[in-house]
């Protein structure tokens, strides 16, 4: 009898074992829908051969609420409430392209001040979304600490959004033709509407400086971490060609080296008045996707600081009819949301609500790339890759 555990015999056994062909069977592994790393209720059915993943099938629909159908029986002002809930991590930015589409068809010119307030809140929504990503992604690849910092920092930004709109996640703040008076503005009269709450400029400046500090902190705390680098560098590489054919947009596309940002094409928010960089990655791996988002937070904070300094005075609302009827026509308005291109295709027949509303969400197209990216990946990388796409299931399922 040979003792297999005797170190002297170990070599013999391990050599013997490689020469033996073992028949392996693929195992079907079900991940989700209640998996904490899926940002909601995404289910993946993966075939695993040992540690290798192949043939991944995402199963959607656990969060499908049928917004496109619901929109057909609602009036335009009522739909704003719905679209808030599509990407709930950045609720405010969902409203903008829809409202802008209706305004475009109605040929309403929005006052500059309202545009500035919209822009500030959109960028704040982007910052808060990227904070969530930063904390959650570090958590997914094994670092527990950053999420506590991220949540604390995000709260400062959410407090500001709340002070203006009255809502942390679902502001429902936009009206066709402008924005409503701010929640904390005190009593309003028709002639002299107060909009932003007292101390908003001061608090925003402090919070934005903190955001820039926090981004720097994340670069050191997460980006400088050897374990994090090993988990993310050269993992889940996405080429620009594949990304564009699948309609992958936003930070993911930019991480693959494409300088594509819809903010440069936006005419309904005054982005052209401000200086900001568009961070672009080189390799298209998980690390770049993380890096691009951290840098974007800094750029967004810079935009907000500039917007605060150059805030024009004037009315908050353009004159609009009492009953909103959108003239016959169709338009597609898209916006650069934290997660990528979000757009609304509005087909109006001149009624109180749209005849058809197509909602194009970023995460839907971004997640459709998963089967390609996960083909042949290692099982531990599955979570790293999935997390780096930064999707929200409300944005996937609508």
């Amino acid at each position: 009898m040979v003792n297999a555990l005797d170190p002297q015999n170990m070599n013999r056994f391990s050599e013997a074992s490689v020469s033996v062909e073992i028949e392996t069977e693929d195992m079907t592994l079900n991940i989700g829908p209640q998996h904490p790393s899926t940002h909601g209720v995404l289910r993946l059915v993966a075939k695993v051969d040992g540690e290798k993943v192949h043939d991944v099938k995402p199963v959607l629909g656990y969060m499908h609420r049928g917004y496109e159908k619901l929109a057909e029986v609602r009036s335009y002002p009522q739909i704003t409430t719905l679209v808030n809930r599509i990407d709930w991590v950045a609720g405010f930015s969902n409203e903008i392209p829809f409202i802008a589409g209706a305004e475009r068809l109605m040929e309403i010119e929005v006052p500059e001040r309202a545009k500035h307030i919209r822009l500030i809140l959109t960028e704040m929504a982007r910052i808060s979304s990227h904070f969530v990503f930063n904390g959650a992604y570090a958590l997914e690849v094994g670092a527990l600490t950053p999420i506590f910092y991220a949540m604390e920092d995000r709260e400062r930004v959410l407090d500001l959004i709340e002070s203006v709109t009255g809502g942390r996640f679902h502001p429902n703040f936009n009206r066709i033709g402008g924005v409503k008076p701010a929640a904390g503005a005190g009593p309003t009269s028709k002639k002299n509407i107060q909009d932003l709450p007292a101390g908003f400029y001061r608090d925003t400046k402090v919070a934005m400086e903190k955001v820039i500090q926090a981004a720097d902190q994340f670069q050191n705390l997460i980006g400088g971490n050897e374990v994090f680098k090993k988990r993310t560098k050269n993992v889940g590489v996405l080429t620009a060609e594949t990304a564009e054919a699948y309609g992958v947009s936003g930070p993911i596309l930019r991480a693959s080296g494409v300088k594509s940002d819809l903010r440069t094409q936006t005419d309904y928010l005054p982005y052209d008045q401000f200086d900001y960089d568009i961070p672009v990655g080189e390799n298209g791996d998980c690390y770049d996707r993380w890096d691009v988002r951290v840098k974007e937070m800094v750029e967004s904070a810079k935009i907000v600081l500039q917007a605060i300094d150059s805030m024009p005075s004037g009315p908050l609302q353009a004159k609009v009819p009492k009953v909103i009827k959108v003239p016959q026509g169709r338009t597609y308005v898209r916006a650069e949301n934290p997660k990528g291109e979000m757009g609304y295709y509005i087909v109006s027949d001149g009624g109180l609500g749209p005849y058809r509303l197509k909602v194009r969400t970023a995460s839907f197209s971004n997640v459709s790339i998963l089967p390609i990216m996960l083909e042949g990946a290692l099982l531990p990388d599955l979570i790293a890759i999935m997390g780096s796409l930064d999707f929200v299931l409300g944005d996937v399922d609508r």
Partner: protein
Amino acid sequence: MEEFFNNIKESFKEATLEFETINIKIDSTEWIDVHKKLRDEFNLKFFSWLSAIDWDNEVSVGEAPKESVSPSFEIITCLSDLDNTNLVTVSTSISKSEPNINSLIDVYAGANWHEREAYEMFGINFENHPNLEKLYLPDGYEGNPMLKSFELISREVKPWPGDVDVEGMPEESESDGSVDG
């Protein structure tokens, strides 16, 4: 944008430019060829979305079209180039009795899920699609929810409370024809 539109006009005479979006209406038989051409010759490599509209005069939800339409499915794709300067929508009509159209997967791989969504929501059959299954809806689900004839059951059970809101605001004392928010 102007220059690009003129180039498009040379190939597609009936293209229109509206709200900075170029709209091209084509016949459903040219569906694949036109998209190949737009991708390769006009550099529209970014596939944004595909969806459909159910045009019908008799509707169970929402409002019927004011002018009578011929019942059909309109299928729309939205394409753009990577620096996002040019935005193009391509649309075609297919009959409701034979809702068949070729799948775009070979041209734009990303059309896969969009087509599956249109398949379950409208019942449109995308030919040569490798995996035309339901995307969102559970397996046993019957019907195509985005059809205008598909009723919202909850509306049947209980009349919509929102109806009250859209009847117009009560008159204010200092009415100047506008609302403040």
